[in-house]
């Protein structure tokens, strides 16, 4: 039992410099070193004592966070007058700064123009305490409702899919049986428990039976997603993106999507393909789902939508390019989220794209898809894979554009490929290529596309300069906010809090962050699972 624990606490004492600084601040100069040492030891001891008492108040306040009021109460116990002016509930307004070998904690107080405060409209009053009831469990089974946490937390889903061996280790075994029970897989009875344990170990842990309600939900959702009513579809997608209880339905959704793509590609039904891709997007956006287990179905479907030769009935008129772009973005997103050294998704996908791109016989549509797919993977991929091939590709485009008219479709394809290349490459080149931009130089480097690239790069440069100015003015732009919201798999409340913190630190009133949250983001302070796109995001 005697475990190795180094008790560092015993030596932690305030530095004597602090004593000096404090003495000076109350008008005592020239404090002797000895008295400083004595003082700092005494003060450290008292502070520890008070902290220990404050912990008591925290425990009885049923909190995990020690607040300033706990310290006040602890001081009161000792018959010491509490510190005034630190009434914040959430965080202590000290800032840390270091530099020149000195580390400082300071209390940030900014000058505020009174007229600004007077002129701002009064904020809404914080909401009053209210009581809300829900079913945590019904006869031993926890219902999947927004008020309850998702049945299988994301970490567990991840652990299941990435480390399947760990699941049956003794420590987690019991959890498995409980889950099996709570999902109503088998009626648990005292004797059967051991048996059940054995069973659980053999069969996959997620049960594949859906309750009647879930079946109904599945039917409604899938119908709405591919149906004709756009409002209904938006609602359904919103539900997929936010509902915490979809874990069990995930295999169904995944099969639905992959089968759907398979059928509709053959039938060239562009609209349905777009709907299905939006479903994929919604699934990926759901913070409670971990899709890794179903990538083998989803990735082929998505890739199909990127590179398929034909996606619509009238390739010359319909905008199937947008679908390819959208799917390519999805692909890039899943690469970012799920690619690991074991599954190598990103490199495998990259290889696939490059291979078909390099093939001379490839159609323009597929060519477009491959390039889009690669380009979305990031500037590094563009730099290493696309830029070296610009000249070759340029020649190919030139052949179509300036050569004899083969077919209208080819021409449109080449045109799209050209603008795609220009769009993606310009920003990358702007970053890696030193100024000045010389048209001739570009022509020698990139061939046919050179001159056009040159003008695009110049445009990109001026835009970047403009943007830099804007970024200086506001910490975050709307697009960035949304990007962060989409990218980061964090609880929304955390994100909103962070963003607002940024905004507030700019608006020089950090202390009212919590207040702002309470007022403006009621959703965040009351309910966690509100969709990303809800108006609560505000800014």
């Amino acid at each position: 039992m005697a475990e190795e624990r180094r008790q560092k606490q015993c030596s932690v004492v305030l530095p004597t410099e602090s004593m000096k600084a404090m003495a000076e601040s109350v008008g005592v100069g020239q404090l002797q070193e000895e008295s400083c040492v004595a003082l700092s030891e005494e003060v450290s001891y008292r502070i520890k004592e008070i902290a220990q008492d404050a912990l008591k108040f925290m425990h009885h306040g049923k909190r995990r966070k020690l607040t300033t009021s706990d310290i006040d109460n602890a001081l009161k116990l000792k018959n010491v007058e509490p510190l005034y002016g630190f009434q914040s509930q959430e965080f202590i307004p000290f800032r840390f700064a270091s530099g020149g070998g000195r580390e400082l904690h300071f209390y940030e107080e900014k000058e505020v123009d009174l007229s600004d405060i007077i002129n701002t409209p009064l904020p809404r009053v914080p909401l009053d305490v209210s009581l809300k009831a829900h079913w945590l469990s019904i006869e031993g089974v926890q219902p999947s409702i927004p008020e309850n946490p998702p049945p299988a937390p994301k970490e567990q889903q991840k652990a299941e899919s990435t480390e399947p061996l760990k699941v049956v280790k003794p420590g987690q075994e019991e959890e498995g049986t409980i889950q099996g029970k709570s999902q109503g897989a088998t009626a648990p009875d005292g004797k059967g428990q051991y048996l059940e344990k054995g069973l659980i170990r053999l069969k996959p842990r997620s049960t594949h039976e859906l309750s009647v309600e879930q079946q109904l939900y599945y039917k409604e959702i899938t119908e709405a997603c591919v149906g004709s009513c756009e409002a209904k579809r938006a609602e359904a997608l919103q539900s997929i993106a936010t509902d915490p209880g979809l874990y069990q339905m995930l295999p169904r959704f995944s099969t639905f999507i992959s089968e759907g793509v398979r059928v509709n590609v053959v039938q060239n039904n562009l609209a349905l393909l777009i709907y299905l891709m939006r479903m994929v997007k919604a699934l990926m956006d759901n913070p409670t789902l971990y899709l890794e287990k179903y990538l083998h179905e989803l990735i082929p479907a998505v890739v199909t939508c990127i590179v398929s030769k034909q996606l619509c009935l009238r390739p010359d008129v319909d905008n199937h390019w947008a679908l390819r772009d959208f799917a390519a973005r999805l692909m890039a997103q899943s690469c970012k989220t799920f690619s690991t050294t074991t599954n190598n998704i990103q490199s495998r996908i990259t290889k696939t794209f490059t291979k078909s791109w390099l093939d001379d016989k490839t159609q323009w549509t597929t060519r477009y898809g491959c390039i889009a797919g690669l380009a979305e993977l990031g500037p590094d991929v563009i730099k290493t894979l696309i830029l070296p091939r610009l000249a070759v590709e340029g020649a190919r485009i030139k052949a179509v554009m300036e050569g004899p008219v083969v077919s209208n479709i080819d021409k449109i394809g080449a045109d799209h490929v050209q603008s795609l290349l220009l769009k993606h490459c310009a920003s990358v080149i702007a970053k890696i290529r030193p100024q000045p931009d010389n048209v001739e130089q570009y022509r020698t480097d990139y061939g046919y596309l050179g001159p056009m690239l040159c003008s695009h790069v110049m445009k990109a440069r001026t835009q970047a300069a403009l943007q830099a100015q804007q970024v200086n003015r506001t910490t975050l732009t709307i697009t960035q906010v949304h990007l962060i919201l989409r990218k980061i798999y964090l609880d929304k409340s955390v994100v909103v809090r962070k963003l607002c913190n940024e905004l507030f630190s700019y608006h020089c009133s950090t202390s009212s962050l919590q207040y702002h949250l309470n007022v403006k983001h009621v959703a965040v302070s009351t309910r966690a699972n509100v969709g990303y796109d809800s108006p609560g995001t505000g800014k």
Partner: protein, 751 residues
């Protein structure tokens, strides 16, 4: 209410003055009684009469002398007189003896008195201001003239040992214990921690700061991990000056650390120390430790670990020997209006259902008085009013519809989330019939919600009440003011966070205890404060109404639990003995006992009748935050910050189970109405259900176990765990089974 009160008061007063026989086993307890007497003169007379009369064990006499000395010093001559008369002491043996006894440092009791008197920041100031009569005491005592007394307590540490040798002594003992036979090693290892602490304190006391630090560095890692919190306190204490007023230290000094060691092991240790002439250690063992020697097999490591962990070691075996009447009181006979029930249960299913409960209730009535139950009038209880009888009838009706719970039949859980509480929710309680819910908040308010469609209404004002026809049948309806109907009411009055809250069984009153040191009684008819009970001068952590109403208990930072009656502004009983804050309080279902849990990691069971501590349960490794009696009164469940639930057999005074699973502080525990299921709610955002029937069925309470108190705990928590229900970032701070066995849980949502 009024009718009850007038009759009640006298009975209680009478009991107050009853003299209790001396009980040898409670040296510790008596010591603390002494403290009580000395520090709150207001309650002197009744408390003092609890003292054993002269001729008791010498330790008690010393305590008395010390008390007298203290009183005299503070010029409380009247109290001195009274106490001396009570104890039958001659006047002349006061002065010299008193001083000596405390100087020798033998009686922990004398020490405690002195230490209290000593430092302004210690216990004294807490209690002295407690009553009006005490007003004169604190000013003088706190002035610091008693400083020498603290030195007297601590002077026991002023031993002239070579500080450098401490490490040698300790490591030689360590080597010895590591080489003894396996069966003795676990037992002897128990002495490490108290020895370590006392040696460290000795070093600090004698100003060997560096040696003390080195000693701590070297050996603190060897101590059991559950002492970590105390070690942290200890580690910050490096100067003699700090020792004054440090409560943890005073506790250690004033109460002997209790160890249970088998005779063989003890002999082994004794022989070793005497051979080696290791007087330093031997002295500490003699002076500061209480070794409870038993005959028989030495205990195993796991047996020891199960019981240790408290601030002052295990409970002495004698401490848990007193007889406890844990049985339930006979239910008053109430005529069940049968017609009513027939109307209610018209469907075919109703018939078999109806029959069963009647049989049950008949059975319980025809049964002779349970031998383990206290006599009906052991504690004067309020008489049932008509409304109470109606409520009992309601209760029985509901009981017939109760769901039988079991492993195959888990209860549904309805969760009440407090939204927008901003981390401010500190206490919750439900009424027994689950119609009201009350919350205590950090902003000093108490809020009451109605969870049924029936809204909360105030009684009309006096002027309006005059206009009412008092003869009408629905007079109770008419007195309510419809204009005030609302779903919730806010009660303002406290000036600090409200930490404890409890409804009276008849739903007419609500108690709340707060950081401001008061307990307040609120009327749920008028929604105003009726009484502020002042007595605790420090935060009151918890309060609980007796299941029969009228009495309630409160406990807080001043380490004293108080028993009150609603119509007395002063406490009827004061229960002192805990070495740290009392964190939670619960009444036994028969109202004759109450349990208190404390930060000293013990649970004590107190007899309401005579104020004696009848059980001390040790085994938790952290402050206890939840207690629950089983409905049959036989068992107690307790939950602590260590995330474990421990189950106790009250009759035998034994630990009978350990439920592991929670990962954070357990704030609420509740047995289902029939005692089949135990629900626990924790800071880790889960509600867990445990098979209580099975936990208590598996008991091996043979005579040997009962006699020695050596328990073998099976590690079967996983088998007993029936379900875990995760909430969405909502710590579970209260649980309640409705009369039909639906589980209600409550907590504040913290996004």
């Amino acid at each position: 209410m009024a009718a009850v009160q007038s009759g009640m008061g006298e009975g209680v007063e009478e009991k107050d003055i009853k003299t209790e026989p001396a009980s040898d086993g409670f040296g510790n307890n008596n010591a603390n009684d002494g403290r009580l007497v000395s520090t709150s003169p207001g309650s002197n007379a009744p408390a003092a009469s609890n003292k054993p009369v002269a001729g008791g064990p010498p330790e008690d006499q010393q305590t008395l002398l010390a008390v007298l000395q203290f009183l005299r010093k503070n010029k409380l001559t009247e109290s001195v007189e009274i106490l001396r008369r009570e104890a039958g002491l001659p006047e002349d043996d006061l002065d010299p003896n008193g001083a000596d006894s405390s100087g020798a440092g033998t009686g922990g009791a004398a020490g405690s008195v002195d230490s209290d008197a000593g430092d302004a920041s210690s216990l004294l100031t807490r209690v002295t201001v407690s009553s009006s009569a005490a007003a004169q005491a604190p000013t003088k005592a706190a002035a610091g003239e008693d400083q020498p007394d603290v030195s007297v307590v601590l002077s026991a540490y002023s031993q002239q040992g070579d500080p450098a040798l401490y490490e040698v002594y300790y490591s030689s003992l360590k080597r010895f214990i590591e080489t003894v036979l396996d069966c003795h090693r676990a037992e002897l290892s128990q002495v490490f921690y108290p020895l370590f602490v006392h040696m460290y304190l000795e070093l600090v006391y004698n100003n060997h700061e560096n040696e003390a630090k080195a000693f701590f560095e070297k050996f603190s890692g060897d101590q059991e991990c559950y002492y970590e919190d105390d070690l942290r306190v200890l580690s910050s204490l490096t100067k003699k000056e700090h020792m004054r007023g440090n409560e943890t230290l005073l506790d250690f000094r004033t109460s002997k650390f209790v160890l249970r060691i088998s005779r063989d092991s003890y002999q082994l240790l004794k022989r070793h120390l005497q051979e080696r002439q290791n007087n330093q250690i031997w002295n500490i063992i003699q002076e500061h430790l209480y070794i409870d020697i038993f005959d028989g097999m030495p205990r195993s490591k796991s047996q020891i670990d199960a019981m240790s962990g408290s601030l002052a070691g295990e409970a002495k075996r004698e401490a848990n020997k007193a007889k406890v009447y844990y049985g339930l009181l006979k239910e008053p006979e109430i005529e069940l209006p049968l017609d009513d029930e027939d109307e209610e249960a018209e469907n075919e299913e109703g018939k078999p259902k109806k029959k069963k409960p009647k049989k049950d209730s008949m059975g319980s009535k025809s049964k002779k008085q349970d031998p383990n139950a206290p006599s009906q009038s052991r504690i004067p209880l309020p008489e049932l009013k008509d409304s109470d009888k109606l409520d009992k009838i309601m209760y029985m009706k509901e009981a017939t519809k109760r769901i039988r719970l079991g492993p195959d039949n888990l209860p549904s859980i309805c969760f009440y989330s407090f939204l927008n509480a901003y981390q401010g929710l500190t206490a919750v309680d439900f009424t027994d019939d689950s119609s009201l819910i009350a919350g205590g908040f950090a902003d000093s308010t108490v809020r009451v919600w109605s969870v049924t469609p029936k809204k909360l209404r105030k009684v009309k004002s006096a002027a309006d009440l005059n206009l009412i026809d008092k003869e009408s049948d629905d007079v109770l309806e008419r007195i309510m003011d419809e204009k005030t109907a609302s779903e919730s009411k806010i009660l303002y009055g406290h000036s600090g966070p409200v930490y404890g809250i409890s409804f009276s069984p008849d739903r007419n009153y609500l108690l709340s205890s707060s950081e401001d040191g008061t307990v307040r009684l609120w009327s749920l008819q008028t929604f105003t404060c009726l009484v502020g009970y002042k007595g605790h001068n420090y935060p009151v952590w918890d309060t609980h109404f007796s299941p029969h109403g009228y009495y309630f208990v409160s406990g807080g930072h001043d380490r004293v639990a108080r028993l009150w009656a609603t119509d007395h502004y002063q406490p009827l009983r004061m229960f002192s003995g805990h070495l740290a804050d009392i964190t939670c309080t619960r009444f036994h279902p028969n109202s004759n006992y109450l349990a208190t849990g404390s930060s000293d990691r013990t649970i004590r069971l107190w007899d309401v009748l005579n104020g004696n501590c009848v059980r001390i349960f040790t085994g938790h490794k952290g402050p206890i935050h939840a207690l629950a009696f089983s409905p049959n009164g036989k068992f107690l469940a307790s939950g602590a910050t260590d995330g474990r639930v421990l189950l106790w057999d009250i009759g035998h005074g034994l630990m009978v189970g350990e439920l592991k699973g929670h990962t954070d502080t357990i704030y609420s525990l509740r047995f289902s109405r029939d005692g089949e299921i135990l629900a626990s709610g924790s800071m880790d955002n889960t509600v867990r259900l445990w098979d209580a029937m099975k936990a208590f069925d598996d008991l091996e309470t043979d005579d040997f176990t009962a006699a020695t108190g050596h328990i073998h705990l099976q590690d079967n928590s996983q088998e007993l765990l029936l379900g875990t229900y995760l909430t969405k970032s909502t710590p579970v701070i209260h649980l309640h089974f409705t009369r039909r066995n639906l589980l209600l849980a409550a907590g504040a949502y913290n996004p």
